[in-house]
Amino acid sequence: MYQVDRAYSYIFYISLVLYLVSIFWGLFVTPEDFVQGNSYRIIYLHVPASFISQSLYIAMAIASAIFLIWKVKLSAYLVRSIAPIGAITTFIALISGSIWGIPTWGTWWVWDARIVSTLILFIMYLGLISLHDSFSNHEKADKFLSILVLVGSVNIPIIKMSVEWWSTLHQPASITISDKPAIDLVMLYPLFGSIVGFAGIVTCLVILSSKLQILRRERNKSWIKNYV
């Protein structure tokens, strides 16, 4: 916990600066898009948020597997503390996508696979929180939460592949590992910067939230009294 406290401020300020610089770069330096005009610039919020919202779920799934297999208590705390942050980032992705939809698609909302599956992800985050909070016995709640997270992780590939599997309004992914990016390099660099910066900020939030979780759950232990 002491090491985390020391590293925390570095991560936070570096990623905050990185994110702000990429946003500035993306908003004022990069040129207009040929098709979408200025409206595409919302990707510097939308893409990081939707990317992180899925990554957080994968992180939760890994932590739940660790908890169920090796019974590491800390990873159960991690699962519980990621859930609200995941819900918030998914919400940001939904809202920013819907704002982007007005100039490009002409509508706030379409019932298409990717958007609906992101909404499902949002609902699932809320369901996970409510499931955990309904049990007063924390050990049981941790166990059930981890099982549900693992079962729910089938949705992640569906969200990821929905743009390819179903005909949809949503554009296919601009950046893939195997292919040449479908986005110009001038726009790509700030996008990468914003993803990394956003990830760093969210990591800091996760650290804060899990710290809170540890303090709350272990409040009767003597080391907490020394720490506080």
Partner: protein, 215 residues
């Protein structure tokens, strides 16, 4: 074999458990045309939307107390320590629920399909899809109800319903391809694939959850 007979008798004697959901299903299907104009020719289009949602809701109702009664009277604990494996007993339980609720609903559903769309081709083709779908729904909702065993069924449904929504997209696509006379067997194969994974995994997961509840 004994277990199958035992579960069958247990569910059959509890008519509220199996007859209730079927009647609710029929009532929903009867009530739905009353809300739109009777002469509406587009009734067939919105029929499938109502059909899938009705099945979803009815399966939710049907599995409401699938484990609760056994948990309260202690027979679930007896099962857990008996020498028959718990996942097997749970799989049988789910199968019996499907046999007494899912199969009748599938038959009634395809009859309603014939009535609403006037197309016997559609009604025949929709039947296997209904069978598979209702089995998947029962499995997933049983999982949800096992999670919230002592907390009421709303919570369990709330957390497992999102898992089923991608399936509804597949069902919608399947109906479209039947309507257009395209090959819909791909969708049946996809549903069967999902079912074949679920049918083995869900009883294992549920038995783990139930053991955690009994601790």
């Amino acid at each position: 074999m004994n277990i199958i007979k035992f579960e069958l008798l247990k569910l059959r004697s509890k008519s509220r458990g199996w007859l209730g959901p079927i009647l609710v299903f029929i009532l929903i299907m009867v009530a739905f045309p009353l809300t739109v104009e009777i002469s509406n020719k587009d009734l067939g289009n919105s029929f499938f939307a109502v059909l899938w949602i009705a099945i979803l809701l009815v399966m939710m109702l049907a599995t409401e107390d699938i484990f609760l009664e056994d948990f309260n009277d202690g027979s679930l604990e007896q099962f857990a320590i008996s020498n028959i494996s718990l996942p097997y007993i749970i799989a049988v339980k789910i199968f019996i629920y499907w046999l007494l609720i899912g199969v009748p609903i599938s038959i009634i559903g395809s009859l309603f399909c014939l009535g609403f769309t006037n197309s016997s081709n559609l009604a025949i083709n929709i039947f296997p899809i209904l069978l598979i779908t209702s089995y998947i729904f029962i499995n997933v909702f049983s999982f949800g109800n096992a999670l919230s065993l002592t907390k009421g069924s709303v919570l369990g449904t709330l957390v497992t319903l999102p898992l089923l929504l991608p399936l509804l997209i597949v069902l919608g696509k399947a109906v479209i391809s039947i309507n257009l006379n395209l090959n819909y067997l791909g969708f049946v194969a996809l549903l069967l694939g999902v079912l074949s994974i679920i049918i083995f995994l869900i009883p294992l997961i549920i038995s783990y959850i139930i053991r955690a509840h009994l601790e």
